[in-house]
């Protein structure tokens, strides 16, 4: 069924002078969608034309609506010669195809509206910059676009209208993830117009526009196909969506997208506590489920069914699958929440469980999750209680030689490449006893015809429900079973805590009440595998909090730090990089050279990373991002992350220095002292209180393992040799210097995660600036990358010096090696203003550890509490949880406290905010208005006149941001969250005075309301 698009061109302003003789322009507009084109009248001799056109109507298929951008081209009319193009506007219609937010299924009782016609957001209007690839922004045009969409329930339909895409790697604010359906991906291959024969005879403008148009279409098509996959899985949205263009040059362009299919339900604005009252099984789960059914009733179910049959026989049925399957088999569907049902079916001895069961589940993935091809999730933050254990980082890379893709319809080779990687990741995760990979991401780096593909994520055990854990633990070793046997006790603890305090105190907790910490908060850190059951060398120690579980000596993860993790002190940004020179060989031998070098590079990277963490006195790293870039002469790996000190993990041991030469003995001891002093200072700065108590009773590592056949399979595995640094040659000394790198200036809290762990008396009150730093230089060997990265960081701090006190969050590094001796480093980040939070938070924080330890000790002593003790413990424990949650919430957009410090929260924000984070401090995301993805190309033949390369790039990025803001505003938003810049490719030729730059940006358009002071 088609949709009807209505477009009205109202006016233009600030158009450029196209007719030199009269200093004016005779402008008109062409509006194009698919193959239909309309033209406005020519508005003579005006730089601010008023067209006030009729409504142009396009009747198009809804899949076309998703694929095709609306193209608005502003032209200058010439009587005697060909009309000149002024510029173009591309409008992505996808945001207009979304269901109006008010009509999304609401949790518990919003279903009445859902039966009505599929109404969409449907209007976009405003001034949009007219962009020309050769001249940049040339004026603006005022347009109104409306869409009337007729819902299509045809089961063979090609469109996926209504599936909302979120770039944000979190559950969107104001939504509740009712179901995680799993990983969705798609890949499309096409010819790159830049490399077609026709490019030799057409103008650069024509070629750039052909490219921009194509990229727009590919992006739309990709999203549509992924949407279809999400529908197939039963989801209504894709979160943590990321899209990437691989420009393979001669062999074409590959567009890749990955995301997580989920079923989202809108939370009611009323305090979530009321939902707890829905103790009735029926009301608990079914209304939302019903809404899903209403919306997507007529779907194909064959594939899903097939999956079920393939699945190993599970203890409990997979009710969701049935429930979703069609309207007709309602009768056979167990109506209630499957979980509650299965809880019951276990018939566990305690009454506590049923109580737990009555609580609303935050987001419960089904056990069919195991049956998914890839148990991957692309989110970085998960509802509390979702993650049971963290295994560690898993990553896989492959080096491929590009060749021309012969058949565009069957992009088999690229698909196969990624499939291989995903399978590898999956097997890694399984080998360490994990059932899922979180914060999964894929990256690629291309140089000439060699391509490095990387995939990484955090292996983890996720809790479908905790009975499930018990079941699965049966096939694990004794130690696991022991632990799981204890679980009911913990459940009891947190459960009571939940019912008493935290719930009442968090009426506006968006994620709904939780039965979160069904386990002691330290269990997340426990190893999901026994030390010797995996094919890796590992160091396991007893958990310092509960003394029961086993923990690794250092934990690396790509996810954000889960809420409620027991940690102390501040988090700190860690960056490590390694640069390897490559031989001067091409093609296959070049690829082999890279392939041979990769493991060494990765090993080195890991070693530096771990040592840096240790020098900081910390023991865990979150938000780990590793990016490998290949160039003609070198191979660069850069890893970034946010280090924290987790209580359950042992305190980091000091790296030891060794040297073969005895002559250096004195110097060595000096250095060792220097090192230990640095660690001490760092511990003070990051407020890491050493807990002497926890040191005792630790199991020493037993590393009798044989030669490792997979040296770098898991970054968290290699640990022993990391403690020892050899200082035999200058190269190693340099490493020492890295370790003792200077800290950011006072007043800066730098992390690469969304929140700053351990901000203590400060809290993030508002957004200050999203910044992009791009640096490119010609370097000669030795490249001394460290110096440049360090200098760049310093320059970022320096340029933001007026923002102190501030937090720099989500700091993203990217290294590109575009030419043989050129290196380009981009840093993207967000500066957030810090204010003073209420002092009570601090007070509470202080007494948080002791009760926790006490309670744990008691756990050791007697497993069965009498009620009296129990209660005391519960309150302390819940106090602890409570403290943690307030701590986090205070930083989240929910709270706006009276500020005393420099940065004050705002009541209103001027203009359009752009942030790479998924939240807006001091404000609340009210509505998600769709995601945008832009690909811009800018070319110039007068680099010198535009202020050199820097001037060219500077104005280009400025303009790109301006266009993004205009689109956000036209869609009715006032901010863009989860902003990304995945590409910034610059090619230039100085002597020809030419330059070309490509940028790929995007994010989620949102409307944010700012709180007035309380």
């Amino acid at each position: 069924m088609p949709g009807k698009v209505k477009v009205k061109i109202i006016a233009g302003k600030n158009l450029p002078v196209m007719d030199r003789s009269s200093d004016t322009t005779d402008a008109y507009v062409e509006v194009k969608l698919g193959s239909t084109t309309y033209k406005t009248d020519v508005c003579r001799k005006s730089l601010n034309p008023q067209w006030n056109s009729d409504w142009y109507r396009f009747e198009v298929d809804d899949s076309e609506l998703q694929d095709e951008p609306l193209q608005i081209r502003v032209m200058d009319h010439d009587t005697y010669s060909a009309n000149d193009a002024i510029g173009k506007v591309y409008l992505d219609l996808n945001p207009l195809l979304l269901p109006a937010s008010s009509l999304l299924p609401k949790l518990g009782g919003g279903e009445s509206v859902n039966n009505s016609e599929h109404v969409t957001n449907s209007v976009m209007s405003g001034w949009i910059p007219v962009y020309d690839t050769m001249h940049g922004i040339r004026g603006e045009v005022n347009v109104i676009v409306k869409i009337e969409l007729f819902s299509d329930f045809n089961k063979f339909r090609q469109s996926s209208c209504g599936v909302q895409f979120f770039c944000s790697p979190v559950i969107p604010h104001g939504y509740h993830a009712q179901m995680f359906h799993g990983f969705v991906e798609e890949l499309i291959v096409n010819d790159d117009p830049e490399y077609q024969w026709i490019d030799k005879i057409r103008t650069p403008r024509a070629s750039n526009e052909a490219r921009q148009t194509l990229f727009f279409k590919l992006s739309g098509e990709l999203q549509r196909k992924i949407g279809l996959k999400a529908l197939e899985l039963g989801g209504n949205a894709v979160v943590g969506y990321s899209q990437c263009f691989d420009l393979e040059g001669e062999s074409g362009v590959v567009v890749r997208g990955i995301g997580t299919a989920v079923t989202l339900v809108k939370l009611r604005q009323a305090p979530a506590i009321t939902t707890v009252d829905n103790t009735n099984e029926e009301t608990n789960g079914s209304p939302a489920a019903e809404t899903v059914r209403n919306d997507y009733g007529h779907q194909r179910t064959e594939s899903v069914g097939a999956k079920i049959s393939q699945s190993p026989a599970r203890f409990h049925p997979i009710p969701f699958m049935h429930r979703r399957s069609s309207d007709s088999d309602l009768s056979i569907t167990p109506k209630g929440n499957s979980l509650t049902g299965s809880d019951k079916s276990y018939g566990l001895p305690s009454g506590y469980f049923s109580r737990v069961g009555t609580l609303l589940r935050p987001s419960v993935p089904q056990d069919n999750f195991d049956m998914l091809e890839y148990p991957f999730l692309t989110l970085t933050k998960y509802p509390p209680g979702f993650i049971v254990y963290l295994g560690g980082v898993v990553s896989a890379r492959s080096v491929k030689l590009l060749e021309r893709i012969s058949n565009l319809e069957e992009p088999e080779s690229r698909d196969t490449w990624w499939t291989e990687l995903r399978m590898e990741i999956r097997s890694h995760a399984r080998s360490i006893g994990c059932n899922a990979v979180l914060a999964y991401s894929e990256t690629s780096s291309i140089c000439d015809d060699v391509c490095v593909l990387s995939a990484s994520g955090t292996a983890a055990v996720i809790g479908f429900q905790y009975t499930d854990i018990m079941a699965s633990s049966l096939d694990r070793n004794d130690f696991e079973r022991e632990k799981s046997l204890q679980k009911p006790d913990f459940v009891l603890l947190s459960n009571i805590g939940m019912n008493t305090k935290p719930l009442a105190e968090s009426p506006e907790n968006e994620n709904a009440p939780t039965f979160v910490n069904n386990l002691s908060p330290c269990t997340v850190c426990h190893l999901p595998y026994a030390g010797n059951s995996v094919p890796l060398r590992t160091t396991t120690l007893k958990c310092a909090v509960c003394r029961n579980g086993k923990v690794p000596d250092i934990l690396l993860a790509t996810i954000e730090m889960p809420e409620g993790m027991p940690c102390v002190g501040r988090g700190c940004f860690i960056q490590a990089h390694v640069c390897r020179q490559l031989k001067d060989v091409r093609n296959e031998s070049g690829a082999k050279d890279i392939s041979d070098g990769l493991p060494f590079l990765e090993y080195e990277l890991h070693r530096i990373l771990v040592n840096k963490i240790k020098v900081k006195g910390m023991n865990a790293l979150f938000g780990l991002k590793v990016r490998i870039s290949i160039g003609i002469k070198m191979l660069v790996g850069i890893a970034t992350g946010t280090a924290v000190y987790l209580l359950p993990l042992p305190p980091s041991s000091l790296p030891k220095l060794v040297s073969d030469r005895s002559t250096d003995e004195k110097k060595l001891t000096e250095m060792q002292k220097l090192l230990s002093d640095t660690v001490k200072i760092n511990k003070e700065i990051y407020q890491l209180k050493p807990s002497d108590e926890s040191v005792s009773g630790r199991i020493s590592p037993d590393n009798e393992n044989t030669e490792d056949d997979q040296p770098v399979v898991d970054l968290s595995a290699e640990s022993r040799d990391c403690c020892i640094l050899e200082v035999d040659d200058p190269e190693d000394l340099e490493i020492m210097n890295f370790l003792m790198e200077p800290r950011p200036p006072d007043g800066f809290h730098v992390v690469n995660t969304e929140l700053v762990p351990g901000l203590d008396e400060l809290e993030i009150v508002k957004n200050l600036q999203m910044f992009t730093q791009i640096w490119r230089a010609k370097l000669h060997a030795p490249y001394n990358l460290g110096k440049h990265i360090h200098r760049l960081l310093q320059s970022v701090y320096f340029k933001l010096r007026r923002m102190i006190p501030c937090a720099l969050c989500d700091l993203q590094f990217r290294v590109d090696l575009p030419e043989s001796d050129e290196i380009q480093i981009s840093i993207l980040g967000m500066a957030l203003g810090l204010g003073v939070s209420q002092s009570t938070t601090k007070y509470k924080r202080k007494n948080m550890h002791i009760p926790l330890k006490e309670s744990c000790k008691r756990n050791d002593e007697d497993m069965i509490f009498n009620l009296e003790d129990d209660h005391v413990d519960c309150t302390t424990d819940s106090n602890f949880l409570n403290v943690q949650s307030t701590k986090f919430r205070s930083k989240s957009p929910q709270r706006n406290k009276v500020q005393l410090a420099k940065h004050m929260a705002l009541r209103e924000k001027h203009g359009v905010d752009i942030t790479p984070l998924s939240y807006v401090p001091g404000g609340k995301v009210e509505r998600y208005l769709g995601n945008l993805n832009f690909f811009f190309i800018r070319e110039t033949t007068s680099i010198r006149e535009e202020g050199g390369l820097s001037g060219f790039i500077h104005s280009f990025i400025t303009e790109v941001l301006a266009i993004v803001r205009a689109h956000v505003a036209a869609l009715g938003g006032n901010a863009m969250v989860a902003y990304y810049m995945t590409k910034c490719v610059l090619s230039h030729s100085v002597h020809k005075n030419q330059g070309q730059c490509l940028i790929n940006v995007g994010g989620d358009v949102v409307f944010v309301s700012y709180f007035a002071e309380e």
Partner: protein, 358 residues
């Protein structure tokens, strides 16, 4: 190493008041870096010259991109390319349109033609203000002049509206525009000592009192009240009654002036009175009007040479004005009285300002 690109772009346009000021003052980037460093920026932040340079260049690039818009502040308000906080925007405009009195003083009375723009290096040399800044100031005046010259209504308000300037700054520009519209002579050697501030004060007085009092589309704020100037001729009667006038003034001033000054006044009353009244009767001729400040400064010169202090002049002028009102010729003709009133308030205040300035 050869850095090719080093840019730092933020969502909200970042403006550093110090660096912007240096840019406004026309310092090239390299100079700005060393100035900032000398001011202790490097010491305070531990930043190397290289870092400061990178920062300065970022800002300079932004400002040069903004310059086109600053030329048309209305556009700056509505443009989308730069997202600027309202208060920052105001700072940008206000600073951009700020000027050095010394430069403007040089430019006053010169034709705002491109020929003169080329000669700005002389101004730059003389005032020690960088050429770039001189050009900016020149262009600003020219632009504002062109826009508001023919605009009906209040000059100050027009400038404020068209250029989003503060009232203070708009008033300064109003004076400049007015001076340029009437083409007052200000650049003669004898007037060189007059500062812009003094000139501005005088001009404002003239603008306030001698232009059309009624408002409307047909009245321009930049035109003199022709009728008034013609009426001034009537003041010739005072010349005929000089004796009576002198007597009254002398009686009035005797107790307050020192003996020396009094004798001097007694002897030269005729010269002084003539000078003031001749000016009045000649002002309807455009040439004379243009030479207003020249004539006034000649008068000032005379008193200066006779050793008058400011207070003496003030007393004299007040008496001169007051006593004329007491004379029959003016008492009977209320219209003439008003003209006298209007004339003398401006002239005496101007004389005093110029006297103080000399």
């Amino acid at each position: 190493m050869c850095t090719e690109v080093d840019v730092f772009v933020t969502n909200y346009t970042l403006v550093d008041p110090d660096i912007y000021q240096l840019w406004i003052e026309g310092h090239p980037a390299s100079e700005a870096v060393s100035i900032l460093n000398q001011r202790g920026l490097g010491n305070a932040t531990g930043a190397s010259l290289e870092l400061i340079a990178s920062d300065v260049l970022d800002h300079y690039r932004t400002y040069s991109l903004l310059e086109k818009l600053l030329n048309n502040p209305s556009k700056l308000q509505e443009q989308l390319a730069f997202q600027i906080e309202p208060q920052t925007r105001q700072l940008l405009i206000e600073k951009y349109y700020e000027f050095d009195d010394s430069v403007i003083r040089e430019l006053l009375g010169k034709k705002l033609s491109s020929k003169h723009r080329k000669d700005l290096d002389e101004v730059s040399e003389k005032t020690l203000v960088p050429l770039k800044s001189c050009r900016r100031q020149f262009d600003n005046i020219k632009r504002i002049f062109k826009i508001v010259e023919e605009m009906p209504g209040s000059l100050v308000q027009n400038i404020q509206k068209s250029f989003h300037l503060s009232e203070d700054l708009a008033k300064k520009y109003a004076s400049i525009v007015f001076l340029a519209c009437i083409r007052f002579e200000t650049s003669k050697r004898k007037l060189q000592h007059l500062t812009f501030a003094a000139l501005k004060q005088c001009t404002e007085l003239v603008m306030d009192s001698w232009t059309y009092t009624s408002v409307g589309p047909e009245y321009l704020d930049t035109e003199m009240d022709k009728e008034f100037l013609l009426d001034l001729r009537e003041l010739r009667v005072l010349m005929d009654k000089e004796k009576e006038h002198k007597h009254l003034v002398c009686v009035h001033l005797k107790p307050t002036l020192t003996q020396k000054i009094y004798t001097e006044l007694d002897a030269n009353f005729r010269t002084y009175s003539r000078a003031i009244l001749t000016l009045a009767t000649a002002l309807h001729r455009a040439r004379e009007l243009r030479n207003l400040f020249l004539d006034l400064s000649q008068m000032v010169e005379v008193w200066k040479q006779s050793g008058w202090v400011c207070k003496d002049l003030e007393r004299f002028l007040f008496a001169f004005y007051q006593c004329a009102l007491e004379m029959d010729v003016l008492r009977e003709l209320s219209e003439l009285k008003a003209t006298w009133d209007r004339y003398m308030t401006v002239v005496s205040k101007c004389l005093l300002v110029m006297y103080a300035n000399q």
